[in-house]
Amino acid sequence: MEILTNILNLFGLETKLFIAQIVNFAILLYILKKFLYKPIAQTLQERQTKIKQGLQDAENAKEALKVADAQKVEILKSARKDADKMIELTKKSIQSIKQNATEDAKKQADEIIETAKKNAEAQQEEASKKVGLMSVDLSKSIVSKILSELFSEQDKNIVLARAVEKIEAGGYGKATN
C-alpha cells in the first residue's frame, strides 16, 4: 500500500485534481455538444438538403427541357404543315388572280382595240369627207380659173354652178357621216 501511495505521489496523482479534470471535461462536452456539434449537424443537414434540392431542380429542369424540346419539334412540325398549306393556298389564289387578271386584260384589250377600230373608221370617214370637200373646193377654184379665161363672168357662174351640181351629184362634195 505504501508503494502504491509512493507511486501515486511520484506521478502527482491527486484526487481533487482528478475530479477537477473530470468536471472540466463534462463542462467542455456540454458546451461543445450544445454550441458546436448541434449547429454543425444542422448546417450540414441544411446544406445536404439544399444540394439535394438543387440536384432535384436540375433534374426537373432537364426533364422540362426535354418536354420543351419535344413540344418545340411538334410545334415546328405543325407550323411547317400550316405554312405549306398557306403556301399552297396562296399559290392557288395567285393562279386564280393571274387567270382573272389575264382574262380582264384580254377583255380590256379587245375593248380598246374595238374602240380604236371604231375611232379609226370614224376618223377615216371624217378624213375622206374633208378630202371630198377639199377636192370640191379645189375643183371649183381650178374650174373657176379656167372658165374665167374662156367665159364671161355670167357664163362662168352658170357653168360653175352646173359643175358643182354635177360634182355634188357625183357624191364628191357631200360630207360623209
Binding site: F11, F18, A20, F25, L44
Partner: protein
Amino acid sequence: MTLAPSILFNIGSFPVTNTLVTTLVVDVIIIAIVLAFRASLALNPNGVQNFLEMVYEYFYDATKEVSSKVEIIYPWVTTFFLFIVISNLLGQFPGFESIRFFSAGSGEEGVPLFRTATSDLNVTLAFAVISIFMCHYYSIKHTGIKGYIGRFISFKMFPIFMFVGLLEFIGEFTKVISLSCRLFGNLFAGETVMGTVSSMFAFGLPLPFMCLELMVAVIQAIVFAMLTMAFMSIMIQKH
C-alpha cells in the same frame, strides 16, 4: 522535468498546478474557437467553420462505419480529440514552458507556469476513466443489465467462457491503464526529449524532434479518440 506537475499555489486545500492552468487555457482556446465558429456560421463555410466541419465529419463518418449508435459516440470522441490535440499542440509552442512562476516554495528558478496538460497523469487518467466509465454506462443502457453482466460471467462451455469473462473483466482495468499511460507516456517522453535536446543544441538539432513531436501530438489525440470510439461501439453492441 518531474513526473508530477508543479503546484503553483493552493486555493484552500485545492492545489493549482501548471497543467491545470494549461487545461484552463485550452478551455479558453476551445471556447474562443466555438465563439468564432458561431460568429461566422454560414451555409457556405469559411476558415474556422471549415476546420471544425472537417473534424466533425471525420469522426462522425468514422463512428458511422463502426457503430449504428453514432449520435451517442461521436460527441465523446470528438471532444476527446479536440481537447487532446489542442493541448498537445499548445505544448509544442517554443517557449511555452519557459514562462516561470515564482512563489514561496518554488525556489530561485521558479516553476513553469504552463505544462502540457496531457503530460499530467491526472488529466490522462481522468480522460481514460471517463471513456471507460461511459462505455460501461452505455453498455448497460443499450444491452440491459443481463447483457452487460453476460459479457463477464458466462456458464456456457464451463470453464472456458468463465475464464474469458474473467479476462474481459481484467481487460477493462487494463484499458484504463493503457489509455492513460499511452497518452501520458508519449507526451511526457516527448517533452523530456525536447528539453534534453534543446539544452544540448539550441539551434538545428531540435527541429526534427519538433517535427516528430508535432506528429506525435496529432497521432496520440487520434489514437485516444479512435480507441474510445472502438471501446464504446464494442460495449454498446450485444455480446
